[in-house]
Symmetry: C2
Subunit: 330 residues, 2 copies
């Protein structure tokens, strides 16, 4: 771990070093690099995502929540690749107003999620910026050799299955910005929590590597991310808008919309879901669904893989045009 200014010594020593204590590979954050014994028979899965204040989280979000979200969106990528995470590297761009209290909150958030997800901080860097606060995480996991599905394995005839429910992340962002409209307080709370604290589907990783032919985590929006599978696999995907699983809060919101179709499209393109979408061969459907059911996690068939290209969105049996395939932060 290296650092930028004297105050960073204290940040690393008091706040970050304890996060590295559980794994000797971190070398106590007191070396040029982490040295990690490999897991025989496994592949290493690595992802790296950066989150910027005002783009990927709200400037007023608590630093504990920001830290946890940054970790979770990376863990979500590992889950979608069927991997078991073990550690992560962190680069923080502090701003001048990142005082000790905020830094403590940041480290506390990481500590909490480390316990939940069984990972440790292994190294990184802290720098100062006069731009927006940002967090970059590189997360590492193991997957049995050759078992990590790519986005390219879908074949016509496969079912398209999605975990959990879709649209709550996008609704949560609107709720946090106060633009969602009238909804019960508890529902607004739940939606905001989904935006700020997504649930990486690590419990599903085993089913993904054992039963999925192709997989992706849903961050850009369901339609856009299914588009990635379609493009990579050289296939088409038929998505049934009316089969997309919705939470109670999303259903309540939907019930208030004048334009049902347009509202459903918003949910299917909004992004920030951090669910997993998979293409699953017919013969693997039963074990996949059964595995998810044992976790108490819905796994819903929302479409199928076809010949052709791109994602066709169907509603009540008719194809509908999609105005915007996915969320872009601009």
């Amino acid at each position: 771990m290296s650092l930028d200014r004297p105050g960073e010594f204290e940040t690393i020593a008091k706040l970050f070093r304890p996060l590295a204590a559980g794994d000797p590979a971190a070398r106590n954050l007191a070396d040029d690099a982490a040295v990690i014994p490999v897991k025989p028979g496994h592949d290493l899965v690595v992802t790296k995502d950066a989150l910027v204040s005002g783009v990927h989280f709200l400037p007023d979000d608590g630093f504990d929540m920001v830290a946890r979200k940054a970790l979770r969106v990376n863990l979500s990528d590992l889950a979608a690749k069927g991997a078991e995470p073990f550690g992560y590297f962190l680069a923080v761009h502090w701003t001048p107003n990142c005082d000790w209290e905020k830094r403590e909150a940041f480290a506390r958030g990481l500590a909490e999620d480390q316990k939940l997800f069984g990972v440790h901080l292994l190294g990184g860097d802290t720098v100062m910026t006069n731009g927006p606060f940002s967090v970059c995480i590189t997360a590492l996991g193991w997957v049995p050799h050759g078992k990590s599905p790519s986005r390219a394995g879908a074949r016509p005839g496969d079912a398209i299955v999605v975990s959990g429910s879709i649209g709550d992340g996008w609704l949560g962002l609107q709720a946090a910005k106060g633009t969602l409209g009238v909804l019960e307080f508890a529902r607004l709370e739940a939606l905001q929590k989904h935006y700020r604290l997504p649930e990486p589907r690590l419990d599903l990783a085993r089913a993904v590597r054992d039963h999925a032919a192709a997989s992706v985590d849903i961050s850009d929006g369901l339609v856009a991310d299914l588009g990635h599978i379609a493009d990579s696999s050289g296939v088409g995907i038929e998505l049934h808008l009316d089969r997309i699983p919705l939470s109670g809060a999303a259903k309540a919101w939907l019930g208030q919309r004048a334009d049902d179709l347009s509202a459903r499209l918003d949910l299917a393109t909004g992004g920030d879901d951090y669910e997993i979408a998979c293409a699953v061969r017919t013969e693997n459907m039963a074990p996949f669904i059964k595995f998810a059911a044992r976790l108490g996690l819905p796994a819903t068939v929302i479409g199928r893989v076809t010949a052709g290209k791109g994602v066709r969105v169907l509603f009540e049996g008719m194809e509908v045009p999609v105005p915007q395939a996915g969320w872009t932060h601009d």
Copy 2:
């Protein structure tokens, strides 16, 4: 590889994807994560450093040079740990003025260094910021299992050896800022190049893992980085200021200084050297020096490990006080 706005599709497709073509683990930058087969009998070595414009490089530095420096300072960490690099992950914070030409230069710089150092881009992220341009790299390498020296292995009686020459990075920064004073043009050029384009000592990695008891790369400044070995190993280090290897340019600069001692201390604390400092047992000295000599790279004994703590700096046999142990970017 994920992205922030429509323009990033093109950046990734046209500029970054070619950098990933050499390694199937990158999955063509078209997946949620890279999937890397492990190297049996080896440990994985990982380092992550972020560089911010105006702090770690000059705002006017060419984007090709910035990209290469960002990669090289990370490779330097791997070299110091005795590792052979194979790949890296990249997170770029573009600013609104990062036009296509600058992005091309950035990718061109990476392409050049990938060839030189045998690494490939494996994944990452691009985001937009209205703050300073910054680059975060996570570099990965392999080292035979159990052979990576930490900073903690030094014992009283070990020699302290340093590769190359010391002070050129700091002098190069002064030269680039125009504050160095009068020096031959060719020397000024060479110094600036050293600042902008450090040489990671990867050729020395094998000697480091075979013969060094403790090692560190010199980024914060020789005295500060030797201090890290002293602290981690629970030993003292005696550093002979008059034995520190200097380049021709540094000697020419030194010859013009009124206060020779103070100027030498500047060189020994300036930072940005990206040389390797090691503690080497007496019996390993000959093979270490011989290995370096075969590379045509100076390896110079500049001090020794003692009992006690901290770094004592000696000049002409007398201990001298060190005003500032290392460079801090503030």
